[in-house]
C-alpha cells in the first residue's frame, strides 16, 4: 500500500528532516509513527500526500511512484488519502459542516451521500452541536476533531493522522483512537503520528520510531519505547 525506498528530505535551508528512510506498510495495517519533536514525522506525512517532494528516493502509494506523478494526477492521489493535519487546516470561511462536506463535493459525490455522511461523521467525533459554527468559534480540541471528520468522511483507502489527539483530553483521545481502530477494521490503512505513550503502549500495534530523520526502531505489537 505504502512503500518508502531510501527517502531523504533536505529542506532548502539545509535541515535534513529524513535520512535514508525505507519501510513498507501493507494494505489494512494500523501503524503508529512516534519520535521526538522535530524527528521528521510530519515531513513523512507531507511527502505521502505530495505536499512536498523527497530530495532523493521514491515513495509508492498503491504501487504508484508518487514522486513521478503528473500534476494533473495529484488530486486523485489526495482524494485517496484522508489527512488530519497537525495544524488542522480547516477552511475558515466555511462552517464545520461545509468543511467536512467539501471533501465530498470535490469528488462530486451525490447530494444524498453528502446529506447522509456528513452528519454521521460529525456525530462520530462529537461535533453534531457545532455543525454550523466556523472553525474560529471552536475550541482547539473541537477543531482537531473537525479535521478528523473531514479526513474520514469519504472513506479513503488510506488515513494519515498527524497528532490527532494532541489537543484532546484522555477520554476523548481514547474515543478517537477507538474510532480509528473501527475505521481500520473496515479495511482502511491507518497511519497515526502520536506522542501519546499510553495509547501506543496499550494498543499493541506496529510502531515505527524515528530519531533525527532515521528509523531507529520498527516493531510489530510495539510500544512507545523508554528512552524517548
Amino acid at each position: 500500500m505504502i512503500r518508502l525506498e531510501n527517502v531523504t528530505k533536505v529542506y532548502p535551508n539545509g535541515v535534513k528532516a529524513l535520512d535514508d528512510v525505507s519501510f513498507e506498510i501493507e494494505k489494512g495495517a494500523f501503524v503508529f509513527i512516534v519520535g521526538n519533536s522535530g524527528s521528521g514525522k510530519s515531513t513523512l506525512i507531507k511527502m505521502l500526500m505530495k505536499e512536498i517532494n523527497p530530495t532523493s528516493g521514491s515513495l509508492f502509494v498503491e504501487e504508484k511512484d508518487i514522486t513521478k506523478l503528473r500534476r494533473s494526477k495529484i488530486p486523485k492521489l489526495r482524494r485517496s488519502i484522508g489527512v488530519v493535519f497537525q495544524d488542522f487546516r480547516l477552511l475558515e470561511k466555511m462552517t464545520i459542516y461545509n468543511n467536512v462536506a467539501f471533501t465530498l463535493k470535490v469528488t462530486e459525490a451525490p447530494i444524498r451521500t453528502i446529506r447522509r455522511n456528513v452528519p454521521m461523521v460529525l456525530s462520530l467525533v462529537g461535533l453534531s452541536q457545532k455543525a454550523n459554527m466556523h472553525p474560529k468559534q471552536l475550541s482547539g480540541g473541537e477543531q482537531q476533531r473537525a479535521a478528523l471528520a473531514r479526513a474520514i468522511v469519504n472513506n479513503p483507502p488510506i488515513l494519515l493522522a498527524d497528532e490527532p489527539t494532541g489537543n484532546l483530553d484522555p477520554k476523548t483521545s481514547w474515543e478517537i483512537m477507538k474510532l480509528l481502530l473501527d475505521i481500520n477494521l473496515r479495511g482502511t490503512t491507518v497511519v497515526v503520528v502520536t506522542h501519546d505513550k499510553e495509547v501506543v503502549n496499550s494498543m499493541k500495534k506496529r510502531v515505527i520510531t524515528l530519531r533525527e530523520g532515521r528509523v531507529i526502531r520498527d516493531m510489530q505489537k510495539g510500544d512507545y519505547g523508554y528512552e524517548n
Binding site: E51, P75, L77, R78, L91, E92, F102, T103, V106, T107
Partner: protein
C-alpha cells in the same frame, strides 16, 4: 464536471463575493473607478471630436467669377458643387448683398464718404458663392476641382485658418487617444493589482482546497464567476453614473455658456454608449480571465 457541480461552483462564486466583503468592495470600486475615468474621458473626447467636426462645416471659401458670368451660370455651378459630398453647403451671394456687406464692414459711421458710389454698385460683377466644407481633409481636392470649372476667376479662402483647424483637430484626436489609452493601461494594471492582493489573502484557503484533492477547475470556477460578477457590477455602476449625469452636465454647460452653445453640439448618449458599453463588457470579461490566470499561476501549484 457534473451540472450540479457547476451550479455549486457558481453558488460558491456568489458566496465568495459576500464573504470577502473587503475584497469585493475594493475590486468593484477599483473597476468602477477605472471604467468611470475611461468612460468620462472617452465621452469628453468623443464629444470634442464631434464638435470639431461640426465646426469644420462652418469653414468655407468664396468663389468669384469672371466678369460677365450670368447669374444662371453661377446657379448652375452652385448645383454642381452641392452634388459633391465634400461640400456641406453652398450660398449664393448676389452683387447687392456683397455691396451691402462691404458697406457695413468698412463705412459704418462714415456713410458720407460713400457719396462717390451713389447709385452704382462698384461690386456689380462680384457675385460669388460661399462654399462650406463637409470635411477639411478634402479641401485641397475641392479647390482644384473648382479652379478647373469654367468662368471661375479666383477663390478666396482662409487657407491658413483651414489648415490650422485641421492640425488642431488632429492634435486633439491623437492626444485624447493617447490619454484614453494611458488610462486604460493604468486601469488594467490597478485592477490586476487588486485581484492579486485579494487572492493572496486567500492563498491559504486555496492551498487547503488543493491538499484536500480539489482539481484546479474546482478552485478556479468560483474565482471566474466571482470575477465576472464583480466585473459586471463594476461596469454597471460607472455607466449608470455617466448616464445620469451626462444630460445634466450638458444642460448646465449649455445654459452657463450660452454664447458658445452653438459650438457645443453634444452627441446623443446612446451613440456614445454604442461603443462604451461593449468596451466595458469586454473589460469585465478580461477581469474574470486575469483573475483566474493569476490564481492558476501563483497559488495553484501546490
Amino acid at each position: 464536471m457534473k451540472i450540479r457541480t457547476i451550479f455549486y461552483l457558481m453558488g460558491q462564486g456568489c458566496m465568495n463575493i459576500i464573504k470577502n466583503q473587503l475584497m469585493s468592495f475594493a475590486s468593484i470600486t477599483t473597476i468602477s473607478a477605472c471604467i468611470f475615468m475611461v468612460g468620462i474621458f472617452y465621452t469628453v473626447s468623443v464629444n470634442m471630436d464631434y464638435m470639431l467636426d461640426a465646426i469644420e462645416t462652418t469653414m468655407g471659401m468664396t468663389v468669384f467669377f469672371d466678369e460677365g458670368t450670368s447669374e444662371e451660370q453661377i446657379i448652375e455651378i452652385k448645383g454642381l458643387l452641392e452634388a459633391r459630398n465634400e461640400v456641406h453647403k453652398v450660398n449664393y451671394i448676389s452683387p447687392e448683398e456683397a455691396w451691402t456687406n462691404f458697406k457695413n464692414e468698412y463705412f459704418t459711421g462714415k456713410e458720407d464718404q460713400l457719396a462717390g458710389f451713389e447709385g452704382e454698385n462698384p461690386l456689380k460683377d462680384s457675385a460669388s458663392l460661399e462654399v462650406y466644407f463637409a470635411r477639411l481633409e478634402t479641401q485641397k481636392d475641392l479647390v482644384a476641382y473648382i479652379e478647373a470649372l469654367p468662368n471661375v476667376r479666383n477663390i478666396r479662402q482662409a487657407e491658413q485658418v483651414v489648415e490650422i483647424m485641421q492640425s488642431f483637430n488632429t492634435l486633439v484626436r491623437y492626444s485624447s487617444l493617447v490619454l484614453v489609452a494611458i488610462l486604460l493601461i493604468i486601469s488594467i494594471f490597478l485592477i490586476s493589482n487588486t485581484i492579486r492582493l485579494g487572492i493572496s489573502t486567500r492563498q491559504k484557503e486555496i492551498e487547503i482546497m488543493k491538499y484536500i484533492g480539489a482539481k484546479d477547475a474546482f478552485i478556479k470556477g468560483p474565482f471566474i464567476i466571482e470575477g465576472a460578477i464583480i466585473g459586471i457590477i463594476g461596469a454597471v455602476i460607472p455607466l449608470s453614473i455617466i448616464y445620469v449625469f451626462y444630460e445634466r452636465v450638458i444642460e448646465v454647460v449649455t445654459t452657463e455658456f450660452v454664447l458658445i452653445s452653438n459650438y457645443l453640439i453634444f452627441m446623443d448618449i446612446m451613440d456614445i454608449y454604442k461603443n462604451l458599453v461593449p468596451m466595458a463588457a469586454l473589460f469585465g470579461i478580461l477581469i474574470g480571465l486575469i483573475g483566474s490566470r493569476v490564481t492558476i499561476h501563483k497559488y495553484l501549484r501546490v
